[in-house]
C-alpha cells in the first residue's frame, strides 16, 4: 500500500516555495507562539484573582487606526511595484514607514497614559502584562520598520519592480502580520482586561 502511493508520484521535482519566504513564515510562527503563550499566561493568571482593573488608554484606538492605514498604504505600494509604477511605490513606502514610526510613538504615549493612571510596569501583573505585550510587540515592530526602510532604500535603487518582488513580498507579509498581531492583542485586551 505505502509503496504504491510512493511510486505513483514518480520522479518529479517536489513542490517547493521560495526558501526565504518560507523561513519568514516559520519565523512568524515563532512570534505567534510567544504571544500565544503570553496571552494564555495572562488568562491563567487573571483567573486566579487579585487583578487590578483599569481602563485601557484611548490612544490604542488611534494607534490601531494608524497600523491598519499603514497596511493599506503598503498594499498600495505593493500593487504599484507590481505595475512598475516606481514613484507611487516610493510614495507608498515613505508613507508606510512614517506611519510605522507614528505607531511606535503612539505606543510610547500609551505608556505615558498608563503611568497617568498609576499603572506601572512594576506592580500588579495586570499592568505588567500590558507593558510586556506592548513592549514586545513594539520591538518586533521596530524590526518591521527597519525592514520597511530597507525596502524603501532598495526602491530608490531601482531594485524593487515587477520582476524582483521577493523582498517586497516578504516585507508585505511581515508588516501585515505585525498589524494583525497588534489588532489581536488590542482585541484580546478589550475582551479580557
Amino acid at each position: 500500500m505505502e509503496e504504491k502511493i510512493a511510486y505513483v508520484e514518480g520522479a518529479e521535482q517536489p513542490i517547493s516555495m521560495h526558501p526565504k519566504k518560507f523561513a519568514l513564515w516559520l519565523f512568524i510562527v515563532t512570534v505567534v507562539m510567544i504571544f500565544a503563550s503570553l496571552t494564555s499566561a495572562y488568562i491563567v493568571r487573571q483567573s486566579e484573582g487579585n487583578w487590578l482593573e483599569f481602563d485601557l488608554p484611548t490612544i490604542f484606538w488611534y494607534t490601531s487606526g494608524i497600523i491598519v492605514f499603514s497596511s493599506i498604504t503598503l498594499h498600495f505600494a505593493y500593487l504599484s511595484a507590481r505595475k512598475d509604477e516606481l514613484s507611487k511605490l516610493r510614495l507608498g513606502m515613505v508613507i508606510t514607514s512614517v506611519l510605522g514610526i507614528a505607531f511606535l510613538v503612539g505606543q510610547w504615549y500609551s505608556w505615558a497614559a498608563l503611568v497617568d493612571r498609576d499603572v506601572y510596569f512594576v506592580g500588579n501583573p495586570a499592568g505588567s502584562f500590558l507593558y510586556v505585550f506592548t513592549g514586545l510587540h513594539a520591538i518586533h515592530l521596530i524590526s518591521g520598520v527597519i525592514f520597511l526602510i530597507i525596502v524603501l532604500i532598495s526602491s530608490f535603487r531601482y531594485k524593487v519592480h515587477s520582476k524582483n518582488m521577493d523582498l517586497m513580498e516578504m516585507c508585505v507579509t511581515y508588516w501585515h502580520f505585525l498589524g494583525g498581531l497588534w489588532l489581536y492583542l488590542f482585541m484580546f485586551l478589550l475582551l479580557n482586561h
Binding site: 508520484e9 520522479a11 517547493s16 516555495m17 518560507f22 523561513a23 519565523f27 512594576v122 500588579n124 501583573p125
Partner: protein, 629 residues
C-alpha cells in the same frame, strides 16, 4: 551492482557548485557555512559538554554514594566548594545537579544530537547542496557557542552557577536572597538559555525549510528516510515550544531584575515581606513545561529516527511499517503538546484537570509502543549485522522499553503522589530519555563516522564501549527504581540525617561505582573517535551497503556534496533484500527500469513514466554542457 543511473549523473561536467577553492582555514573550519562542517562543530561541542556534564554527575555521585568520603583531593579543581572539613559544599551540590541537567538536556542531547545530525544528514539524505540558508545555519552554531561560553563561565563565578534545578522554578530562582546560585549564576543561565533558544530556532527554521523546499527530484515525502522525518518533526516541535520557554524566561528576567510580580507573591524573607504581590509561581510551571515536555521529544525523536535507519540497514530488511512509523512520530509530535501538566500533578493542580492530563499522557504509550514493535519486527528474522551502530540502536530499543514502562506508572496522577520527585523519576527519565537518546547519538556517530571523516571507527573498541556502557547504564539506573519506591527524594544532599532514609547506603555506593565505571568506558569512545579521525581505516564509499543518498557522495564530499548533478531518487530508502534482486540492497538512485527482475507489478507500470523523466534529465545535462563549452 545496479547503479547505472548514478554513472549517468556523475559525468565529468564542470560543476558550478564547488566553492571549495575559495575556502581558507577560517571559512572552512570556523565560520563555515557548509552544513557538514557545522554538524561536526555541533558534535565536537556536544562531546565537550557531555564530558563536563558527566564529570559533574560523578562529583555528586561521590557525595551520594560515599557521604563520609574525604574530598580534599578535589580542592585543586573545586577550590572553595570543598568545605574546610573536606566535604562537598551543600550549595554546590545543588549547583552540580542543576548544571548536570541543563547541560545534558540542552547542550548535549538537543544541540549535540539534533544539531549534529540534522545539519549533517538533512542535505545529504534529501539530496540538497546545503541548507536553505548557510548563513543562518552558521549563526545557529555561533549562538550555541556563545550560549556555551556563557554557561561555562557561570561554572566558575564565586556565587556558583544556577542551583534551582534545571527547571529553575521561581521563587527559588527569582530571588537573589533565596540561595547563592540565584544571583549572578542564574542571570548567566538565563542569558545563555536565551542564546540557546535563538540558536535552536535558527536551526529549526532552516531544517524545516530545507526538508520542505530543497528535496531532490523524486524525493517525495513518502520516500524520505525516517531519519529525515524525525529531524523534521523535531524541528517542528522546537519551533513551537522554544518560543514559549522564551516567554517564561522573559517574565522571569522581569521578576528578577525589574521588580515585577509575574511569579512572586506574598513572600517573607527574614520576617520581612517582599513588595511583590499578585504573582503565581504555578504560572511559570505551566509555561516551562509547555516547552519542557516537548523538549523530551526534541531529545528523543532524532535518536529514534537514527535508530530506524540503522536497524533497517543492518537487519537487511525494509523497515517494518514505514507509514506506521511516520504516523506514530506525528502522533507523538501532537501529543507532546497536550501532556505538560503531568509534571505538575502535585503542584496543586485541579485533580480533575490532572485526570485529563493523565489520560492524554497514557495515550502517548500507543505511538511509542507502535515504534517499539516496528523495531522488533524489523529485527525479527533479519540478516542481522552487529556493527557498533547497530548494537547501540538495539540498546536504545531496550532502554526505550524498560524506561517507557515506568512512564506508565508515573503518568498516573494517583501513583505520582508517591513517586513524584523521587529517584524513581530519576531512573525513569535517565533510561527513556537520557540513555536512549545518548545511545541514539552514539549509534549515529558510529554509523555516519565514515561519511563525516572518511575513515572507519575501530569496531572492536566500539563493541567494548557498547557492552560496558549498556551494562553500566542498567547498573546505574536500575537500582534507582528501588531507591525511589522506598521514597528517596531527588536533589537531596544527604539522606543519612533522616530516619526514613538512612538505609540503602550500600545500594547508593553500588550506583556510584557503576557510574564511575560507565563514565570510564566513555574514554574508550573518546580515544576511538579522535584516533580514528586521523588514523582509522579508510572507509569504502558505502561501508554499510546502505540505500540512502549520502552514500552516493564522494568519500570527502566538498561544499555542495555532489561533484556533478544531484542524483534523482526513484524508490523509497528501504529496498533491502528485495526478492529477485541480485544484491541485498538497491540504492534510492537506481531507477525501477534498471531492476526489472525485482520490480513488483505496480512498479513495472511506473517504469514507462520514469523513462520519460530520465530522458528529460539527460536533455538538461546536454544543455548544461553545451552552455559551458
Amino acid at each position: 551492482m545496479a547503479t547505472a543511473n548514478v554513472a549517468t549523473h556523475s559525468t565529468d561536467a564542470h560543476d558550478h557548485h564547488d566553492h571549495e577553492h575559495h575556502d581558507n582555514f577560517i571559512t572552512k573550519y570556523i565560520f563555515t557555512q557548509d552544513h557538514k562542517m557545522i554538524g561536526k562543530q555541533f558534535l565536537v561541542t556536544g562531546i565537550f559538554w557531555a564530558i563536563i556534564g558527566g564529570l559533574l554527575s560523578l562529583v555528586f555521585r561521590l557525595q551520594l554514594g560515599f557521604p563520609d568520603m574525604e574530598l580534599e583531593w578535589l580542592r585543586p579543581i573545586l577550590g572553595g566548594w570543598i568545605t574546610p572539613d573536606g566535604k562537598l559544599d551543600p550549595e554546590f551540590y545543588l549547583a552540580l545537579v542543576t548544571m548536570h541537567g541543563t547541560i545534558m538536556v540542552f547542550f548535549v542531547l538537543t544541540a549535540g544530537l539534533s544539531g549534529t545530525f540534522s545539519n549533517f544528514l538533512i542535505p545529504l539524505q534529501i539530496g540538497a547542496r546545503d541548507m536553505a540558508s548557510g548563513f543562518m545555519n552558521m549563526l545557529s552554531y555561533w549562538f550555541f557557542f556563545l550560549s556555551s561560553v556563557i554557561m561555562f563561565i557561570s561554572l566558575f563565578i564565586e556565587t556558583g552557577p544556577a542551583s534551582g534545578g534545571w527547571v529553575v522554578y521561581p521563587p527559588l530562582s527569582a530571588l537573589e536572597q533565596a540561595m547563592p546560585g540565584s544571583g549572578l549564576g542564574m542571570t548567566l543561565w538565563l542569558i545563555a538559555m536565551t542564546c540557546f533558544i535563538a540558536s535552536s530556532l535558527l536551526g529549526g527554521i532552516n531544517y524545516i525549510t530545507t526538508v520542505i523546499n530543497l528535496r531532490t527530484k523524486g524525493m517525495s515525502f513518502s520516500r524520505l528516510p525516517l531519519t529525515i522525518w524525525a529531524f523534521f518533526l523535531t524541528a517542528v516541535i522546537g519551533l513551537l515550544s522554544f518560543p514559549v520557554l522564551f516567554s517564561a524566561a522573559l517574565l522571569l528576567v522581569f521578576d528578577r531584575s525589574f521588580g515585577t510580580s509575574f511569579y512572586l507573591s506574598d513572600i517573607y524573607i527574614g520576617g520581612e515581606a517582599l513588595p511583590n504581590t499578585g504573582g503565581s509561581p504555578v504560572l511559570y510551571q505551566h509555561l516551562f513545561w509547555f516547552l519542557g515536555h516537548p523538549e523530551v521529544y526534541i531529545v528523543l525523536l532524532p535518536a529514534l529516527g537514527i535508530t530506524s535507519e540503522i536497524i533497517a540497514t543492518n537487519s537487511r530488511k525494509p523497515i517494518f511499517g514505514y507509514k506506521a512509523m511516520i504516523i506514530s512520530m506525528l502522533g507523538i509530535t501532537i501529543l507532546s503538546f497536550v501532556v505538560w501538566a503531568h509534571h505538575m500533578f502535585v503542584s496543586g493542580l485541579n485533580p480533575f484537570l490532572g485526570s485529563i492530563f493523565m489520560f492524554l499522557t497514557l495515550i502517548i504509550a500507543i505511538p511509542s509502543a507502535v515504534k517499539v514493535f516496528n523495531y522488533l519486527t524489523t529485527l525479527w528474522r533479519g540478516n542481522l549485522i552487529f556493527t557498533p551502530g547497530m548494537l547501540f540502536s538495539i540498546g536504545l530499543v531496550s532502554f526505550f522499553i524498560s524506561g517507557g514502562l515506568t512512564g506508565i506508572f508515573l503518568g498516573n496522577s494517583a501513583i505520582d503522589i508517591q513517586l513524584h520527585d523521587t529517584y524513581f523519576v530519576v531512573a525513569h527519565f535517565h533510561l527513556v530519555m537520557g540513555s536512549a537518546s545518548f545511545f541514539g547519538l552514539m549509534a549515529g556517530v558510529y554509523h555516519w563516522f565514515p561519511k563525516m571523516f572518511g575513515r572507519m571507527m575501530d569496531a572492536r573498541l566500539g563493541y567494548i564501549h557498547f557492552w560496558a556502557t549498556f551494562i553500566g547504564v542498567y547498573l546505574v539506573f536500575f537500582p534507582m527504581h528501588y531507591i525511589g519506591i522506598a521514597g528517596f527524594p531527588r536533589r537531596y544532599y544527604s539522606w543519612t540525617g533522616f530516619e526514613f532514609s538512612n538505609m540503602y547506603t550500600d545500594l547508593n555506593m553500588f550506583v556510584s561505582v557503576a557510574a564511575i565505571l560507565t563514565f570510564g568506558a566513555q574514554l574508550i569512545f573518546l580515544f576511538n573517535f579522535f584516533y580514528s579521525m586521523y588514523r582509522g581505516r579508510v572507509a569504502s564509499l558505502n561501508p554499510w551497503r546502505s540505500n540512502t543518498l549520502e552514500w552516493t557522495t564522494p568519500l570527502h564530499p566538498g561544499h555542495g556534496n555532489w561533484p556533478g548533478e544531484i542524483p534523482a531518487v526513484y524508490r523509497w530508502p528501504y529496498d533491502y533484500s528485495k526478492p529477485g534482486a541480485s544484491e541485498d540492497f538497491i540504492p534510492q538512485t537506481v531507477p525501477l527500469s534498471a531492476t526489472p527482475e525485482s520490480n513488483l507489478p505496480h512498479e513495472q507500470e511506473l517504469v514507462k513514466l520514469e523513462k520519460q523523466i530520465i530522458a528529460d534529465e539527460e536533455a538538461d545535462l546536454v544543455a548544461d554542457e553545451s552552455k559551458e563549452s
